[in-house]
Symmetry: D4
Subunit: 249 residues, 8 copies
Amino acid sequence: MEKIITEGIIKSYMDDLLKNIEVDVVIVGAGPSGLVCGYFLTKNGVKSIIFERNLKIGGGMPGGGMMFNKIVVQEEAMEILKEFKIRYKKFKEKYYILDAIETISGITYKTIREGVKIFNLINVEDVVIRDEKISGVVINWTSASIAKFHVDPLSIISKYVVDATGHDCEICKIVEKKVGGIKVMGEKSMWAEKGEKEIVENTKEIYPGLIVCGMAANAFFGSPRMGAIFGGMFLSGKKASEIIIKSIK
Amino acid sequence: MEKIITEGIIKSYMDDLLKNIEVDVVIVGAGPSGLVCGYFLTKNGVKSIIFERNLKIGGGMPGGGMMFNKIVVQEEAMEILKEFKIRYKKFKEKYYILDAIETISGITYKTIREGVKIFNLINVEDVVIRDEKISGVVINWTSASIAKFHVDPLSIISKYVVDATGHDCEICKIVEKKVGGIKVMGEKSMWAEKGEKEIVENTKEIYPGLIVCGMAANAFFGSPRMGAIFGGMFLSGKKASEIIIKSIK
Amino acid sequence: MEKIITEGIIKSYMDDLLKNIEVDVVIVGAGPSGLVCGYFLTKNGVKSIIFERNLKIGGGMPGGGMMFNKIVVQEEAMEILKEFKIRYKKFKEKYYILDAIETISGITYKTIREGVKIFNLINVEDVVIRDEKISGVVINWTSASIAKFHVDPLSIISKYVVDATGHDCEICKIVEKKVGGIKVMGEKSMWAEKGEKEIVENTKEIYPGLIVCGMAANAFFGSPRMGAIFGGMFLSGKKASEIIIKSIK
Amino acid sequence: MEKIITEGIIKSYMDDLLKNIEVDVVIVGAGPSGLVCGYFLTKNGVKSIIFERNLKIGGGMPGGGMMFNKIVVQEEAMEILKEFKIRYKKFKEKYYILDAIETISGITYKTIREGVKIFNLINVEDVVIRDEKISGVVINWTSASIAKFHVDPLSIISKYVVDATGHDCEICKIVEKKVGGIKVMGEKSMWAEKGEKEIVENTKEIYPGLIVCGMAANAFFGSPRMGAIFGGMFLSGKKASEIIIKSIK
Amino acid sequence: MEKIITEGIIKSYMDDLLKNIEVDVVIVGAGPSGLVCGYFLTKNGVKSIIFERNLKIGGGMPGGGMMFNKIVVQEEAMEILKEFKIRYKKFKEKYYILDAIETISGITYKTIREGVKIFNLINVEDVVIRDEKISGVVINWTSASIAKFHVDPLSIISKYVVDATGHDCEICKIVEKKVGGIKVMGEKSMWAEKGEKEIVENTKEIYPGLIVCGMAANAFFGSPRMGAIFGGMFLSGKKASEIIIKSIK
Amino acid sequence: MEKIITEGIIKSYMDDLLKNIEVDVVIVGAGPSGLVCGYFLTKNGVKSIIFERNLKIGGGMPGGGMMFNKIVVQEEAMEILKEFKIRYKKFKEKYYILDAIETISGITYKTIREGVKIFNLINVEDVVIRDEKISGVVINWTSASIAKFHVDPLSIISKYVVDATGHDCEICKIVEKKVGGIKVMGEKSMWAEKGEKEIVENTKEIYPGLIVCGMAANAFFGSPRMGAIFGGMFLSGKKASEIIIKSIK
Amino acid sequence: MEKIITEGIIKSYMDDLLKNIEVDVVIVGAGPSGLVCGYFLTKNGVKSIIFERNLKIGGGMPGGGMMFNKIVVQEEAMEILKEFKIRYKKFKEKYYILDAIETISGITYKTIREGVKIFNLINVEDVVIRDEKISGVVINWTSASIAKFHVDPLSIISKYVVDATGHDCEICKIVEKKVGGIKVMGEKSMWAEKGEKEIVENTKEIYPGLIVCGMAANAFFGSPRMGAIFGGMFLSGKKASEIIIKSIK
Amino acid sequence: MEKIITEGIIKSYMDDLLKNIEVDVVIVGAGPSGLVCGYFLTKNGVKSIIFERNLKIGGGMPGGGMMFNKIVVQEEAMEILKEFKIRYKKFKEKYYILDAIETISGITYKTIREGVKIFNLINVEDVVIRDEKISGVVINWTSASIAKFHVDPLSIISKYVVDATGHDCEICKIVEKKVGGIKVMGEKSMWAEKGEKEIVENTKEIYPGLIVCGMAANAFFGSPRMGAIFGGMFLSGKKASEIIIKSIK
């Protein structure tokens, strides 16, 4: 039986990996905005994969606010939540309370069912550049760098890269440092209304081939943070998908 | 808006917490067997909650085998997987390959939808004992012990405690050391067939009020480990629920 | 009995927390100047709370000078010490020696008795900003960041924030980096007379809504440090309260 | 001014230290039971000092239950709390809720005012033995061992040593290992009623010259732990003082 | 070009891996005795692979004695060294000095050329057991355990497992703990003559399916260590291969 | 026998060390380009030694791409690989797949056989400077700095120093910081074709006495990285040797 | 007997400490240059003390070169070594080899015998400043900062402070950062002749009240380092003493 | 000049090392008892060397008692101190106070002058055994094990080994574990009179070829510790030398 397990797992994973050496879109970060972006891309026929450096999916959402595992979502974004079939309770006019773990596991489950392949445990350590266009990502096992094993990476080719890494906007910072031509402003102090308003308009292509979405968008443009309210995150992930769909099709 | 977020999250979480100070069953560990156990308990009207010490759900399943995020399931357990609506591919006669992240997120999502409350970030550091019966668990924030803050715990009262902590069978070890009367044998070397066969029969009440299931059951009775094959885990979680339901009702 | 303990502690704490989501003044840091500031604010009818990141109260005072747990206070500040009923011995003309632990525990006890709620184990990681006014703080469990759990914070709304974090003047540094418009000069070398003279005049509103007091005031304006003499700290804490009282009333 | 500070602090601390090279009682651990023990000893004319290894006072009490900084006290112990002038709220019949920080700072303040000298930052690493009687403690700076500096200790001579180090009962363990003749049973699982009942009767002289009190008493005799309820702790600290007073006088 | 690199590396590695899910012999540890064993096995037609937990090959040999990168070899083993074409200088009658790095890189190179596949960066964390025979190894990425990622392992099936892990004799210890029936004596103090004499006779099948060789053989049987003299290591590796060849053929 | 081992190792190592206090060329880093450089230098009569800070040889090559231990080499560099007698498989037109461990061990073995002495476990922490020429290196045991032992270094005199330290180009950075006159641009994002094209032309004398080769050359001049393709590395190492040979002879 | 030990040690140490709250010269760092400076100051009637942050004396000298515990001294400095009665062997014309441990222990012993008090285990974390003159040092137990105990320091008043902290020139860096008006250039690459020549002329008063000597002098002025040759160190320490003697007397 | 330094240091150190591959006595640990033992051995014509694992000499003596760098010596041992020319002050009848750093540096200096070679930075990790006699030590660089470099050791042959490693009695523990036949009792609690009385009689040959002295003698035989009083240490070191001299001559 061990032989079947070993063979089955290696073969099926390698098939997945080899099928995804070149894709339409690479999304970096399997938090709420990255997952939503992948869901809508694939639903609209754009082949997308997600790289997540951790073992598990979901960014900081499972921690809710201060380890109290609930989140708040505003009216405007509830349509997306309903598409993912997440339960909610009305708290105040236009504000809803959701269970953080139900939300993130439901979105993850539906996104994969839609056809998005998530590769976890893999870190994006650099981008692939061609002339002045981001053309893919450079990946490695997260564990190799934690273990301080000096090991060369491999590359995945794509038409677009989406930076959904949250408030560190790590792909933007790599491009700022190793490619040049952009400037990361950094996340500003808490102002939930302002942050929620600007996150959607900040979602855009900031360098040829590089889209920024979710909290990374606010961090890139120096907009405020919002805490444990997530409506803007979902809307931003969806908008990122729309920008790419319009361009590719 | 910040005030609404703060108030909404604290109030709704505390409601959940206060409603769950006394429950029918406390399950320790939100890996595959614990989740399945909680799902079937709640579906059958037994009020259950799960404590998970990590921020995120799923135990080691998302890592598949050797970080290749696929798992193997045998024929016998496929009925359960179908109940959770997880996709699968036939690999060999009676063996199926599943995407590890789809599986764990789908099970989590369905389990919460069924009514199980998962409290993550909380560590079970001891049990509540009454005469010679396990009568609840002693909990604390995981982060407090990582931060080495010396902080007293609180207690949750229950009729049954399920040890679904995997190969460390941590609750059993606590009872062995601080209550006495049981002996943990420890996980044996890999022998997938034998391990899969024995895991279901090892699922039982090993001390008044304490049920052991999943890999913890094999570790408790000294049965072999099985690696990245998960059929027995699902069957064991289900059996644990059946033992409790029969006893309580 | 466990159920009563669990319920009693959660309910009473949550009451306190929910009552303090919006307050007049948030003081950051429960060292000598922050405690004195809170004491006089509350005594004068201004609702104040203190956030302290550590488990225990008192900043560096319990260590006295070089772990010899005594402190020195000058004549001018003795009136405050007498209000807190701390014993003292005259050492030289105008200089008094106090037991460091008696001093800090006495001030803490009296300050809480006066009505100030201290929330320990909570870190202020950012401020709430509205247009160009500091309007509250962004809080999280200290242990969550030590444990490197990525968890979203919550916010507390206030009319004033007092930076009493000592020589790191952490709130000022956050505002310098994430809001802009101020410049932290940094603590200068030891010169006790000069430091003691300037600490009171440095206690002021340095940004709309943000008061700096105690060693943070000297660090902000580039004045010298003073070592284990604490008269200026007490006077500065009191002055910070007076500035706010005058403005609010 | 620096010269006065340096001289004043060194001289007054060294006076304290030299006056306390030989005392009636050394209490190890400045948590609730140790402080209460010291308070009643000194009030009754028995010269006592406390060694605390941390910078700050109070053991785990400031963390309340699960970082919610409240504690519960039962009727029987409320008389002691009233002597220390701590505020309380009735929660259920015979149960009171207290603010954890007010409680510990009030007890500390009153204990020092009563005349107990607390030496913090000092670790008790061994006992002084004469024939078959504990005759003092062996002390060292806590920081020296954290810094892994190999530095010899000094000794303090006393008629009694009180182990108030909590659930680790460290002094008992040292005596078990380096002197022999006693056996530490270890703390048992949570059972608040039983633990509270037994803690007072467990408070006794377990080896000539060595008294055990507070949670250390339950840990020594293998009684259950109690969580964030503190009545027994106060009663145990008081009883330890009574045993010594009766013997000495 | 990146696509070719990614595809070429993944495909050729996976081919190797899938071809080696079931082999004749798994050697654990790519130090001198494991390499020599693999060389002679393959040369004699027995399909062997080596798992090495580190990134790089060679055990402690490259460090020579006390970081002076030279080693000593006695007359008896020089025939093997000549087969690997390693240069040497005579030092005393019957003793030769070799460059440590030349020796290990030459042996590695020749062993791979002979047809042995070395999988580095992979840790053997357990054995596969069938009734009472070792029937393979349980492997995982070394980096996953260093990174503390909880990830399930995979298994490799074989007729023989060779423990060439050096003085820790790790596979023997796993079998001692998780299978039972053998007892590891542990390496004894230095006595080079005795150690060198006994290492070859200690090389044997110590449990059905498990051969021990190199320093692991001496550690298993409680023979002395030898330091930076390596003749016995080479002879032991060769003898291990002969035992297996005789049995298999 | 122990005495012979001790004496033989110390004497033969010290002979090597004393013979190499002054050499023609010091190469820093025993990765592929440094080894190839040393091989061709010595083959052409230029006395060269290599310092490697790790215990083992080979830089990151043994890790292949993402821990899959294979590497890719292009047509142009295959002549060098053939000189080192490394086996290869054709993958695509002009691209070959090699076993990573065979490649690095084969090159290491042949380079030492050619006469290059490798000193491992030794870190180059600085350069020797004379007027405006690099004239040697400053060495120390790597372990001494890891152990934080403050120990003075020794020096080795040479006509040329080759920086083959890979993408950190450490010797260049030392010269930039402590000597001045050069500027390290830093490695750019992945672009395999461009990187492979530029690495050979970047191989040059960048400061009197200092040659840069391998990935250090691209990092110095701000050219792109290439991942697990190694043709350019070998060509660069060879070119570095040619520059020196032409100059010295 | 324990009481005598405790009392004797505390009393005699505190006497030393209180006698040295105000001195002529504070030397920071008990390496070779600091010790020699203290020796000649005291021999000439200038009261000096040395603060050393480590438990033990001697800086890096005991490690010789690369852990080979020998040092080299040139002709010019041999007169000083003879005054300290250190044995030497001639190696080459004008160069002598000394045992590193004999040298440092002999210098330490003679310096203390001459009347210099060394306070070890104490870190100088800042300076005392008056107008624009360094007027003392701010000290704390080294262990307190390693243990991360937040404890206030004490101050020692002096006419001169000597920075003998070696290549980090820590006191200079503190003055550069917290007082201003000077600029640390940083140690340059190895050039023994140049470094030895410049170290003596670099020994001077670089800010009112602050003398720099030993390797700190070269680091301050951007001169080269010298490795394990120590003649300049001794000459520099002596010159520092002469500058102060001339000024004070 | 660098070449002379490098050559001089390597040559002179290697001469020392090669001359000491076989000696009469190896002393392990350069604390007070080991140094005194070496001094008297060499003075009486027995060739001795000391291995010290740290960079610096002196064990814990420089820390005095509780970091107050003074020590106490009783009348009986003052003769030895006078031979080493250490200054002292009478404190009480028969008790003397000495400066800790003067004492240890003076003893070190005189011991080396007498002809004892100290090898610092070298760890004794095992013994050499012949039949049933300890016949030398197995040494390695301390830094190699701190750096976790797996490097083989070398051996030094001797007639006697002296365990002067202090309260860990490390050599005894190695013999207990790897040779057998002895049993380490472990240090007992503080009782200065008893400890001082027994330390001299405990100084003896506890296994053929192995002498135990200093605090290691008390730890071996289960006698009490003594704290910062050192008379017994010196007497024990001297007695160890006498036992060996009598046997050898």
